[in-house]
Symmetry: C2
Subunit: 305 residues, 2 copies
Amino acid sequence: MHCSKCHRKAVTFIRYNGMYLCKEHFVEFFERRVKKEIRKQGLPKGTIAVALSGGKDSSVACYMLWKILKDHKDRKLIAITVDEGIKGYRDKTIEIARKLCNELGIEHYIISFKDEIGLTLDEISEIRGELAECTYCGVFRRYCLNKLAKEKDAKVIALGHNLDDVSQTILMNFIRNDLERMARMAPHKKIQPGYIPRIVPLRMVPEKEVTLYAYLKGFDVSEDECPYAIRAMRLLYREFLLQLEEKHPGSRHSILKSYLELEECLREKFPPAKLQPCKICNQPSSMPVCMACQLKEKLRKSKEK
Amino acid sequence: MHCSKCHRKAVTFIRYNGMYLCKEHFVEFFERRVKKEIRKQGLPKGTIAVALSGGKDSSVACYMLWKILKDHKDRKLIAITVDEGIKGYRDKTIEIARKLCNELGIEHYIISFKDEIGLTLDEISEIRGELAECTYCGVFRRYCLNKLAKEKDAKVIALGHNLDDVSQTILMNFIRNDLERMARMAPHKKIQPGYIPRIVPLRMVPEKEVTLYAYLKGFDVSEDECPYAIRAMRLLYREFLLQLEEKHPGSRHSILKSYLELEECLREKFPPAKLQPCKICNQPSSMPVCMACQLKEKLRKSKEK
């Protein structure tokens, strides 16, 4: 097939808008949406941190921000990688992240669960009890990211979430009646003391397109999936959304649209919780003791048994 | 297993609240929720119409309303059956509906697509073009119900939708970004000229429990499914919600809860459309020509070809 915009050979078909695109026009189509989204979400002056796991999504988010910021004198991009300690999986992607930062000339910082929590995720998995690894990992990852970003005086943290991730999360929060969590989704507009707001530059782009972009740009990308993903509820939602998208192209977009239409009313219904320094670790928290410290305590007790 | 409330043998296990119930306690549990819901949604004085297809849901809704209203002097229950004209399916359920009304002493009215639209659903199926049967059927059914209920001066129409139906519809509207349709879901509070508001007495009760109730009460119930259901998008949602409920009992309830929390904001965002008499049929419509008349015209043209 030919590109719908020129005579060249198409590399992809975008089902939800019916377009065939060649490499050049796909790259243009991709970058346009990311740039537009970044403009909309806003990039404050100062240090911009990107959460770089080394997977395809965060690598592409990092590259796009580098591309946009390289000529900005008043903004500086740094990358933060959280090493959860997952043997045979994270070691590889950390190498990829390191290489990418080297090539682009981005300062790269690594923060590990082992140093901050005292246990790797593999060790947590052994003693986790009834909670899935993803529960610990999500909380500790946010804790680590925020801590290091704050130390580096970052104004914002960019996450690699794509449209598939975002639409899954919206749907999950809606179905679980967790509207408060829905109201707190990134991008964050309100600035809270000690808490670095998040932006999500790729939220308008389906996962498949991020993969294709990474491939076309020749990025080094690991094909591995996190070994603990199997226990994530997300899989059921993922499967359903793929089926739905197959029958009704554009479903992921329309979920995001529903969310955006309700956003204002959600933010009114659930105004940001007043954050306070956690009594134990001093990091911002909506409770006297933050969730990371609560889970750390849970693990300590469970280890003693 | 024994009933969680007495020493008798349990007939069912309610997964989302962990209770085993005997026949008596299940019936009590079932009826309590339906009565509570009816009180909440409100039953105006005068004629109450129930849309009775003869399937298990509408039969149970009809029976429950009869049970509640039989001692009310200022409210009268009537049943309306829409005969879409589906050979081998609707004929059977119409007989069941007729029998139930006879037994309970309820006035029973039948209105048919053939008389009102000029075509049975089977005939529509032959010439339908790109729209599924369900699209025509839904619009024409609403049209017929409203027309006959208005002629009988009904104050409200009760529908048999159970929790599975309602949670599917909410999810479908959310995913399709059809928030306006979500805002217009029954039960209706605002009264619009010419339009009979709907109530949904069974919306808190899962389908499985309606089936069990119908069985325990010895209702004559057809096991057949509408032959056109196969083309309904609903099936995908149904499948997903069953899987979800299996893994997370209570998911259907939490979807309804999310909806109820957003209801006020949705109704503000989408105030009821001003209804006007349709230029052709005089029935209430948000457009100059109502959807039923538009679809009738579409069918007429398609038949001429």
